[in-house]
C-alpha cells in the first residue's frame, strides 16, 4: 500500500528507492537513456493523410530495429535517424504479418539496444511511451516522451478502415494518448527503462470506433522478432493500402468511369475463384463481407482490406434477388520477389 502511494504521489521520484547502482534513477534519466534506443523511421507516405514517418526500437547493438508493419515501410528508400542524429539507410529484413511487426537492419555497431522484458506487467503499472509522434522531432532531437499507466491487459479488438486487425492477442491498453501519427513502433518502458512493449499501428476499437492507445507486449514482440529473423513469420505480404487486385480473383467490374460507378460485374475469368464461386456478368455487388459497397472503387477498397487468409464473401443482386458468393480465402500476394 505504501509503495503504491509513493507511486501515486511522487511518480518518478520513487525510482531512487528501487534503482540499482549505475542505473538511471530519475524519471529524466530513465527517459534520456531509453530515448537513445528509439529511432525515427522515414519511408513512403506524405499523401492523403498517410504519414511518411514512424518510430522504431533498437533491439540489437549491431543495428536490428523492430517497428510496426505499415505503409511507411512500403518504400525502397527507408531511412533511420538515431537519437544522436546519425542517419542510416535501412533494409527490411522481414515482417510478421500477424503481429504487424517488421525488423529492419542498419549498418551500425555498438548501438544502445533494448532487451524486451519477457514477463507481463499488470494494469496499474506506470509506463513511459517514447515515440516520434507527429514527426515533431527531427535530426538529433530526442523522441517525445509521454507518461501513463497500463489501464488494462486485454485482447485487441480493433480495426483499421474496413479491415479487422490481424492480431487478436493481449495488448497493454494505456491511459494516455500515445498512438498518434508517427507513434507506431515506439517504445513503452517501465519506471526503470525496461522495454515492456512496442506501440502499435493506429487502430480504432471495433466496438466503439474510438482510437486505441495500446502496445504489443514485449514477449509478443520478442516472439515476432525471433520468427522474422528465423524466417518463419510468414511471407512479407504487400503493405499497400489496396494490396489485393480484383483481377487476381478473376473478377472484372464494368469500367470505372463515374465518380460512383455502380459495381456491376463486366466479366468473370474462366477457372478463377470468381468463376468457381458462381459470379456472372451483370451481377451487382452490394456488399463485401458485412460492408456495404456502392461503387467500383468501394469494392476494390473493401476487398483490398480483407486480411490474408480470410474469406472473401460478396453479396450480389441478380435479377432482383440477393445472392451470397464465397470466393474462398484471400490469396497471399508477394509484393517483392
Amino acid at each position: 500500500m505504501r509503495h503504491l502511494l509513493v507511486l501515486l504521489v511522487v511518480g518518478g521520484l520513487m525510482l531512487a528507492a528501487t534503482a540499482v547502482a549505475g542505473e538511471p534513477t530519475t524519471l529524466q534519466q530513465v527517459a534520456a537513456v531509453a530515448a537513445r534506443k528509439v529511432v525515427k523511421i522515414y519511408g513512403a507516405g506524405g499523401v492523403q493523410g498517410l504519414e511518411g514517418y514512424q518510430s522504431g526500437i533498437i533491439i540489437s547493438s549491431d543495428g536490428r530495429i523492430a517497428t510496426a508493419l505499415s505503409t511507411v515501410l512500403d518504400s525502397d528508400g527507408l531511412d533511420c535517424v538515431l537519437d544522436d542524429g546519425r542517419r542510416f539507410e535501412a533494409r527490411l529484413i522481414g515482417v510478421d504479418p500477424r503481429r504487424e511487426l517488421a525488423v529492419l537492419a542498419i549498418e551500425a555497431v555498438d548501438l544502445p539496444a533494448f532487451t524486451p522484458r519477457e514477463e507481463r506487467v499488470t494494469a496499474g503499472t506506470r509506463v513511459l511511451a517514447i515515440s516520434n509522434l507527429f514527426g515533431v522531432a527531427v535530426g538529433d532531437e530526442r523522441a517525445s516522451v509521454q507518461r501513463g499507466v497500463v489501464a488494462a491487459v486485454v485482447p485487441l479488438e480493433a480495426r483499421r478502415g474496413a479491415a479487422d486487425a490481424p492480431y487478436t492477442g493481449d495488448v497493454y491498453v494505456l491511459d494516455c494518448t500515445t498512438n498518434n501519427p508517427g507513434s507506431p513502433g515506439g517504445a513503452v518502458v517501465d519506471s526503470q527503462g525496461r522495454l515492456l512493449g512496442i506501440l502499435g499501428k493506429e487502430l480504432r476499437a471495433t466496438a466503439s470506433g474510438i482510437w486505441l492507445n495500446y502496445a504489443l507486449p514485449a514477449d509478443e514482440l520478442a516472439r515476432g522478432c525471433a520468427a522474422i529473423l528465423a524466417g518463419t513469420a510468414g511471407s512479407p505480404l504487400a503493405t499497400s493500402a489496396t494490396p489485393l487486385d480484383l483481377r487476381s480473383l478473376g473478377l472484372v467490374l464494368v469500367p470505372d468511369l463515374l465518380a460512383r460507378t455502380p459495381p456491376f460485374v463486366e466479366s468473370v475469368v474462366p477457372g478463377s475463384a470468381a468463376a468457381q464461386a458462381g459470379l456472372r456478368p451483370d451481377d451487382l455487388v452490394i456488399a463485401v463481407g458485412s460492408r456495404a459497397v456502392a461503387s467500383c472503387d468501394a469494392v476494390q477498397r473493401a476487398v483490398g482490406g480483407v486480411p490474408e487468409g480470410d474469406a472473401v464473401r460478396l453479396s450480389l443482386i441478380r435479377g432482383g434477388v440477393i445472392v451470397e458468393c464465397d470466393l474462398g480465402p484471400r490469396p497471399a500476394e508477394v509484393k517483392r520477389p
Binding site: 505504501r2 502511494l5 504521489v9 511518480g11 542517419r87 532531437e141 516522451v145 509521454q146 498518434n180 482510437w211
Partner: protein
C-alpha cells in the same frame, strides 16, 4: 493547427482538479496509518506549487470572439497570453482570477509572429503572480502542469489544472503563413485543449516555464492528443520589453536562409545583399556554427534560436568559411514590413490592435478607455508613454549629478594620442589626431556624419547629452522601443540575456537608439544617418561601476566591423567647462 479559443461548448463542471483532490484525499486517509515523510513533503510541495500556479492563472473572456487563458507576471497586473486569444477581442477583455473576482483588462502589446500578447489587469497593485524561470533548465521527464480555462469551463473563474511531464524541449513548430510560429518551444503531455491557450505552464515548484498555446490537432479533432506546445519562458522574457512598449512586435530574420548540406552541415543557401548579415561578411555556403551563443547543428536548431529573438537585436553569429572560424555581430532585421505586421495584427493597415477594436466600435469600460490610445504601429500607445516616462525618471534620477552646462571629455586614444570633445546646447566639436570636426546642432544631423569614417559619432554624443540633460522629450520624437541585451557577451552562456531598456528617437534626419540601464546610465548609442546603412555604434563604460552620474571613463566607437576609436576619458579633465 492552432488551439484558438472559439470554443462554444456548454459549461461543464468536470475538472482535472478533482483527480488531484482525490490524490489528496487518499493520501490524507492513508497517512493516518504510516506514510514516508518524504511522500508527505512531496505532496505538500505539489499542492503548494499548484496553489501558486492557480493563483496566477487568468481566465480570459473576450465576448463573442471567445476567450482563453493568461498568466499574471507582475503584481501590478501585467499578464501574458496568446496573440490569438486577443486577436479579435478589441482593446478590452474581461479576466477572472481564482479568487472568484472579475477584472477589466486592457491589451498592452502583441507579437503576432510569436503568438504572444501582453494584457494588464486593472484595479489592484497586489495581484498574485508567477515567477518566470530559465526554461533552458527544463528537462524531458520533468513534472509540469497547465493552469487555464480549457473549453472556457471556468464559469466560477477557478482555473482547471492538467498535469503531465515535459515530452520534449527545443521543439520547432512551423508557422501558419508567417505568424504563430512556435520556435524552441516546450512539448508536454499535460492535456492542452482549446481554451488553455495563453495560460501558464508551470514546473514542480510552481514557477512559470512557458505559455501554452498550441497542440497537434490532426486526426482526432480539437481535443488533447498528448502533444501540447508552450512558448518558452525565455522567449517570453525576450519579448516582454517590446510587449510593454505597446508596439506591434516583430520577430527576427537574419536576411539569409540556411539548409543542410550533403555532409550534414548547416550552410547559408541564400542571402539578401541589403542585410546586415551580408554587410558583416556572411556569404553563400558559409557554415553556421552558433547563433546568439547557442550551437547550431541542424536547420531546426537555427530556426529555434532565431525564432525566439526580437527584430532589431544585435547578436553574435559564428560561422566557418574557407576553413576559418569567424565571429560577427549581426543586427537582426524584421520578418514583416510595418504595414504587413499591422495587417496581421488586426486587419487595419495602420495597426490599431484590431479592426473591431476601434474604441467607437464597442463601448469600452472607463478604466480601459483611460488606458487605451490608438496610434499607427502600436497595439496601444498609452503604454509606450508609461514606459518612456519610467525610463525618463531613471535618467532624471542621475541628472543632478551631471554637469548642466557644456561638457568636456578629454583624454587619450588607445594609441596614446590625445582627444578632446566639447558638447554644449549651441555647438559640438571633437579634436582627434586626424583633425577637428564640428556639428551645427540646429541643422539636419544626417548630413553631418562626423568625424569622417565614424558614421556620426559627434551627432550621437550631441543627442546623448541632450537626453541626459533635458530628458527624452528634448530628443525629437522619442518612444520606448523595448529591451535589448546589455552586451552581446550576455549571450555567451546561452540562456536568458541580461536586458536593458532602449529608447528610440527620430530627430533632425537621424534615428538614434539609446540603451539605458536601470540606474539611469546611458550604456550605448546607435545612430543611423541613413536607414539601411551601418549605424555609428557608441559604447560607454565606467571603470567604477558604482560611479553613477559620473562621466564614462571609456567610449568605444565602431561602425560595422571597423572600430573607429577607443576613447579613454581622463576623469579629471572631464566635466563641465569652467
Amino acid at each position: 493547427m492552432i488551439a484558438d479559443m472559439h470554443a462554444n461548448l456548454p459549461p461543464n463542471r468536470i475538472r482535472v482538479v478533482a483527480m488531484l483532490v482525490a490524490v489528496v484525499v487518499v493520501s490524507t486517509a492513508v497517512c493516518q496509518a504510516e506514510v514516508d515523510p518524504t511522500v508527505i513533503e512531496a505532496q505538500r510541495a505539489r499542492v503548494e506549487a499548484i496553489r501558486r500556479g492557480s493563483n496566477a492563472a487568468v481566465s480570459i473572456f473576450a465576448g463573442e470572439s471567445g476567450g482563453g487563458s493568461g498568466v499574471l507576471l507582475t503584481p501590478d497586473g501585467y499578464a501574458a497570453t496568446n496573440f490569438h486569444v486577443v486577436q479579435s477581442s478589441g482593446p478590452a477583455v474581461t479576466c477572472g482570477l481564482a479568487d472568484g473576482r472579475l477584472y477589466d483588462a486592457v491589451v498592452v502589446g502583441v507579437d503576432p509572429t510569436g503568438d504572444l500578447a501582453l494584457i494588464k489587469l486593472l484595479g489592484r497593485d497586489d495581484f498574485p503572480c508567477a515567477q518566470l524561470t530559465d526554461s533552458d533548465d527544463v528537462q524531458v521527464g520533468d513534472f509540469c502542469f497547465a493552469a487555464g480555462n480549457p473549453f472556457l469551463l471556468a464559469t466560477d473563474l477557478r482555473p482547471s489544472i492538467s498535469a503531465g511531464i515535459v515530452s520534449g524541449v527545443h521543439r520547432y513548430q512551423y508557422p501558419a503563413g508567417t505568424i504563430l510560429e512556435y520556435a524552441d518551444c516546450l512539448q508536454v503531455d499535460a492535456a492542452i485543449n482549446p481554451g488553455n491557450s495563453g495560460g501558464g505552464l508551470f514546473d514542480a515548484h510552481g514557477r512559470l516555464i512557458g505559455v501554452n498555446g498550441r497542440a497537434s490537432f490532426e486526426k482526432r479533432g480539437r481535443v488533447n492528443v498528448g502533444a501540447g506546445y508552450a512558448i518558452s519562458a525565455n522567449q517570453v522574457r525576450n519579448f516582454l520589453g517590446g510587449l510593454r512598449s505597446g508596439r506591434l512586435c516583430d520577430h527576427a530574420a537574419l536576411g539569409a536562409t540556411v539548409s543542410t548540406s550533403a555532409d550534414g552541415r548547416v550552410v547559408v543557401s541564400d542571402i539578401v545583399e541589403s542585410s546586415d548579415a551580408w554587410r558583416r561578411g556572411l556569404r553563400y555556403d558559409d557554415e553556421i556554427v552558433s547563433l546568439a551563443g547557442r550551437p547550431v547543428r541542424t536547420v531546426n536548431a537555427f530556426k529555434n534560436v532565431l525564432g525566439t529573438l526580437p527584430a532589431g537585436w544585435q547578436v553574435p553569429l559564428v560561422v566557418r568559411s574557407g576553413g576559418r572560424r569567424r565571429e560577427m555581430l549581426v543586427r537582426l532585421e524584421a520578418i514583416h514590413s510595418p504595414a504587413t505586421l499591422a495587417k496581421l495584427a488586426g486587419g487595419s493597415e495602420d495597426g490599431g490592435p484590431q479592426p473591431a477594436a476601434t474604441p467607437t466600435a464597442r463601448e469600452l469600460p472607463a478604466a480601459v478607455r483611460e488606458r487605451y490610445e490608438h496610434r499607427a504601429g502600436f497595439a496601444n500607445h498609452h503604454f509606450n508613454r508609461l514606459e518612456r516616462d519610467r525610463v525618463a525618471a531613471a535618467l532624471a534620477a542621475v541628472r543632478d549629478a551631471q554637469p548642466a552646462g557644456p561638457w568636456v571629455l578629454a583624454g587619450r586614444l588607445a594609441s596614446g594620442a590625445e582627444f578632446r570633445i566639447e558638447l554644449s546646447d549651441a555647438s559640438a566639436s571633437i579634436d582627434l589626431p586626424t583633425g577637428t570636426s564640428t556639428v551645427a546642432v540646429d541643422d539636419e544631423l544626417d548630413r553631418q556624419p562626423v568625424p569622417p569614417g565614424s558614421g556620426g559619432l559627434l551627432p550621437a554624443l550631441v543627442l546623448w547629452r541632450r537626453l541626459v540633460v533635458e530628458g527624452p522629450a528634448a530628443v525629437g520624437r522619442t518612444i520606448f522601443w523595448g529591451t535589448a541585451p546589455r552586451t552581446p557577451a550576455t549571450f555567451a552562456a546561452g540562456g536568458s540575456a541580461d536586458l536593458v531598456d532602449v529608447l528610440e528617437s527620430s530627430v533632425a534626419g537621424v534615428v538614434a537608439r539609446f540603451a539605458v540601464a536601470a540606474d539611469g546610465r546611458v550604456l550605448a548609442i546607435d545612430l543611423w544617418c541613413q536607414p539601411d546603412a551601418d549605424p555609428c555604434e557608441v559604447r560607454l563604460s565606467w571603470e567604477d561601476a558604482a560611479a553613477i552620474g559620473a562621466m564614462p571613463t571609456r567610449i568605444d566607437v565602431r561602425r560595422g566591423d571597423v572600430p573607429f576609436a577607443e576613447l579613454l576619458v581622463d576623469p579629471v579633465a572631464a566635466g563641465a567647462t569652467p
